[in-house]
């Protein structure tokens, strides 16, 4: 049994929502594989790092945002390529922030605050598209509960 236990890269990601109900997408730099796509905020957890701390670190590194609230978990994803040493699993959270100003890192070249449906329209990556669909579903459920 235990010899079959896998080892994985673990990613944490955030759909950041602003008070206008827009979500943040970042365009990956050409040399940042998969380059050029519109992505959610996030990245790999480091060894010995708590994953919630990893989420905080990635949000700060990629956007400069320090203040946000985690609303809930949205979507688990995995990305397996030919060589299992690249096996990656991740979890995306819905987060809210009042921060307007974004400071990009060298990993991204552009950012956009978009209505969720506009974000879906420009997404070309399955994982990002699924994250956004799950966000829209959960947000609609929360809105209908609060009415």
């Amino acid at each position: 049994m235990s010899e079959k236990v896998g080892r994985f890269t673990f990613c944490v990601a955030a759909i950041l929502e602003n008070p206008d109900g827009e979500v943040l997408l970042l365009k990956r730099a050409p040399d940042n594989f998969p380059g050029g796509i519109w992505d959610v905020v996030g990245g790999a957890v480091e060894q010995f790092e708590d994953p919630f701390v990893g989420l905080q670190r990635e949000i700060k590194e990629e956007t400069g945002i320090i203040e946000y609230l985690v609303i809930k978990a949205l979507d688990v994803f995995h990305w397996y390529q030919e060589d299992p040493k690249w096996d990656m699993i991740g979890l995306t959270f819905w987060c809210r922030t009042k921060a307007k100003e974004i400071v990009l890192s060298h990993e991204h070249v552009e950012y956009k605050w978009l209505k969720p449906n506009e974000a879906l329209d420009i997404s070309t990556h399955d994982i990002v598209t699924n994250n956004l669909k799950q966000f829209i579903k959960e947000r609609n459920e929360l809105n209908s509960k609060q009415k």
Binding site: G6, F10, E46, Q47, L74, V76, Q134, K145
Partner: protein
């Protein structure tokens, strides 16, 4: 630097009466006689959803499973030893089944379908208490925040 982790998947498994399943660990295992949720570690190249279905089947014999949604993630070092090879990140999911009949493996000796409040009181496991609370919040069963860890990581909407 990216880390390498074992990944575990765990289920808050709900039946048609809105009860959730807890199972009791065998006395010959680590953490003997503790009540826990269902779950285990993923194999290499196994998807989290496949791993979750496999673990639920191995530990309970239940095959009809609807995976509703993920609840949260957790972080532990196995055997309480802070080494990279012991480092594990877990994902807990809310799942539903129409089956109430349970066939335990030899890793467990007892099972109970419990109201989430009762399950919360029965377990001593802080992480499990947290998933039960998140599950209850998702179901609209409570608006209270009880736990420090919970307040740290989640905002109650």
């Amino acid at each position: 630097m990216k880390g390498k982790f074992m990944v575990a998947v765990a289920a808050i498994l709900e039946n048609h009466r809105g009860e959730i399943l807890l199972i009791k660990r065998s006395s010959h295992m680590e953490y003997p006689d503790c009540w826990e949720d269902i779950g285990g570690r993923l194999e290499q190249s196994e998807s989290p959803e496949d791993g979750l279905r496999r673990e639920i089947y191995e530990e309970t014999g239940i095959e009809d499973i609807e995976i509703v949604k993920p609840l949260t993630m957790f972080h532990v070092f196995r055997h309480n030893e802070k080494k990279a090879e012991n480092e594990l990140i877990g994902l807990s999911f809310w799942c539903k089944t129409n089956t109430s009949e349970v066939k335990l493996s030899d890793e467990h000796t007892e099972f109970k379908w419990l109201h989430p409040d009762t399950a919360f009181d029965l377990t001593d496991h802080p992480a499990l208490k947290r998933y039960i609370l998140l599950y209850m919040l998702e179901k609209g069963l409570t608006k209270k925040r009880f736990l420090h860890e919970f307040e740290e990581n989640f905002y109650n909407v």
